[in-house]
């Protein structure tokens, strides 16, 4: 798997109407992401990074363009099928942690696995395993109110990783965290790519995270300005596809 193309997007265009003015946010963006790689998307505020992720992951339909994710044309699917695709293949990590206040760490993970049709006993095992993987084996029974920000984000990561997603999207996963917690989080995302072969796409402002990137993409004003491989997947010839 590692090194194979996971997502390929062509000609993604999206604009928002503000009053009568149509404001373009994505301008015919072409984008690729590979299994086993951490692809980092950077750029100034308002450059369209989050909008790009939303279009790639099936959360927001672009005005134009196509997304081929794991070999399937995402936006040709019906709504319910897109939900199913995300359930089967996508993990998300947001800036906020979005954990249910009533559930403890294990239950947060189990809750999602339940919808993946994982049996109860198996879900429990996988939840504990995922939480152990993010270093929270001592916090299994704690509710969010008893967890630090970094720990909460790790629960969110465990929740996203527990269903073994092939595509992992993270939007500013570290910006609410101190630098140490931030390091832990990016290391976990890195490991998801290396050990599970997921295509990890991270939007960030944080230049310190670049150390963990296999590839850095810079966006500005709805366009990709530069696309630099740190580690080039075997599939990609040195004359890398460039936006």
């Amino acid at each position: 798997m590692t090194g194979k193309l996971a997502i390929e997007a062509k000609g993604l265009t999206k604009s928002y109407k503000i009053g009568k003015i149509k404001q373009p946010v994505l301008k015919e963006v072409n984008f690729t992401a590979y299994h086993g790689q951490v692809t980092m998307v950077m750029g100034p505020s308002g450059s369209g990074k989050s909008t790009l992720i939303a279009a790639l992951s099936g959360l927001m339909k672009p005005d134009e363009g196509e997304v081929i994710a794991l070999g399937e044309s995402l936006w040709k699917k019906k709504k319910a099928k897109i939900d199913q695709f995300r359930l089967d293949h996508c993990g998300f990590i947001f800036q906020g942690f979005n954990l249910f206040p009533a559930l403890n760490a294990t239950q947060q993970v189990e809750q999602v696995l339940k919808y993946c049709k994982v049996k109860k006993g198996e879900a429990k095992k996988r939840a504990v395993q995922a939480l152990t993987e993010v270093g929270l084996d001592k916090r299994l029974k704690q509710t969010p109110s008893a967890l630090s920000g970094g720990e909460k984000q790790r629960v969110a990561i465990a929740r996203a990783l527990s269903k073994n997603p092939q595509l992992l999207f993270a939007d500013e996963p570290t910006s609410a965290l101190d630098s140490v917690s931030g390091q832990v989080v990016i290391k976990l995302l890195h490991r998801a790519a290396k050990e599970h072969g997921a295509a990890v796409i991270v939007v960030t402002h944080d230049p310190r995270l670049e150390a963990y990137a296999d590839r850095v993409i810079h966006m500005e004003d709805g366009q990709i300005l530069s696309d630099t491989f740190v580690n080039r997947p075997e599939d990609v010839p040195p004359s890398a596809p460039h936006a």
Partner: protein, 376 residues
Amino acid sequence: MSLALSTLIYEWRRYMAAVIALAVAGLLVLSLVGMFMGIGKNFTATIDRSPADLMVLPPDSQGFGSSQPRRNIPTLYQHPEVVEVMPYTQRWAMWANFPSPGQSAKRDGVQVIIVDPIAGAVTLPNDFPEDVILALQEPYSVVVDATSLAKLGVKVGDKAQMNGRTVNVRATITNYPSLFNSMVFMSRQTAKLLNLYDEGPRVGSLLVKLRDPARAAIVAKELNDMGNKQFRAWTREDLARENQAEMFKESFIVIMLGFMLIVGVFIGVVITWQTLQGAILANIKEFASLRALGVSMGNLNLIIMELSFWVGVAGLLMTGILLVGVTALANAVGLTMFYPLWSIITIAIMLLTIAVISGLLSLGVLKKSQPADLLR
């Protein structure tokens, strides 16, 4: 434990308004039913606990009050299985205590119930203990319910005045409370001495004892065929049921209950709906993150419906708790509450329906859980 139930327990304060609204709605209706049914039960306490197998009433009246000719008694004896027939006699009398120094004088109308203080007599309630029966055998002795003592201004051993003659309060009984006029039990002999009993040509209800109580329904039918519409014989169960049904034919009670029901449902739905909406909005980002991870809208709807169901169950439990309080309070003032099973089932269905309707109304706000909004 499910997400819905955990959330309800963890954030119970948030849901308290809805739970209490549901409980008040349930309580409103149920305590009203309980009160009417309880009053009804009080009125028939002596009948319910009489050893009579059949009651014979005038043909057109289900309740007690109207009268029938005394000659119906020999007619009834014509049936071979009838072993005893006695009139159930209830009279009104004026009661006055002899206040001891510092005690206030009490004057009140009382219901006099005439019994025959012989074990097994058809007029003698079957829960009267031996010593009460013996006490009643003495002339001028009367027996009252323990809860009536204060209202009558006497204690056991005191003398009191009834219709201008002196009587002795010889003992008390329990389970004959009365919200309005106290019940005073006395023997037929004492009643005669107080000019409360006469052998006139008309009687009220008749209490009938049969050779074989198990055949009550059959004999009742045979007596009714025999009586040629001169009277109507009822088994105790039929009469109790008829009395309950009769009570709900009173338009006043039905209007009251209907009004309470509508007010209760309205308050319940509005408050529960608003509470659920607030609760959903408070967790909207969490729901959106589930949506992002691929959980369908249908599954989120199910979570909300389950949540509203549990809110209904909590409301029901709360109704139960408040009801125990209300019942205790009512008993303290001598008001018996009685909740027939049908009323409890009706309220349970009503509360769960309110909760589910509120849940359905709240589903709209879930549409606000747009996972794209989580990308900032």
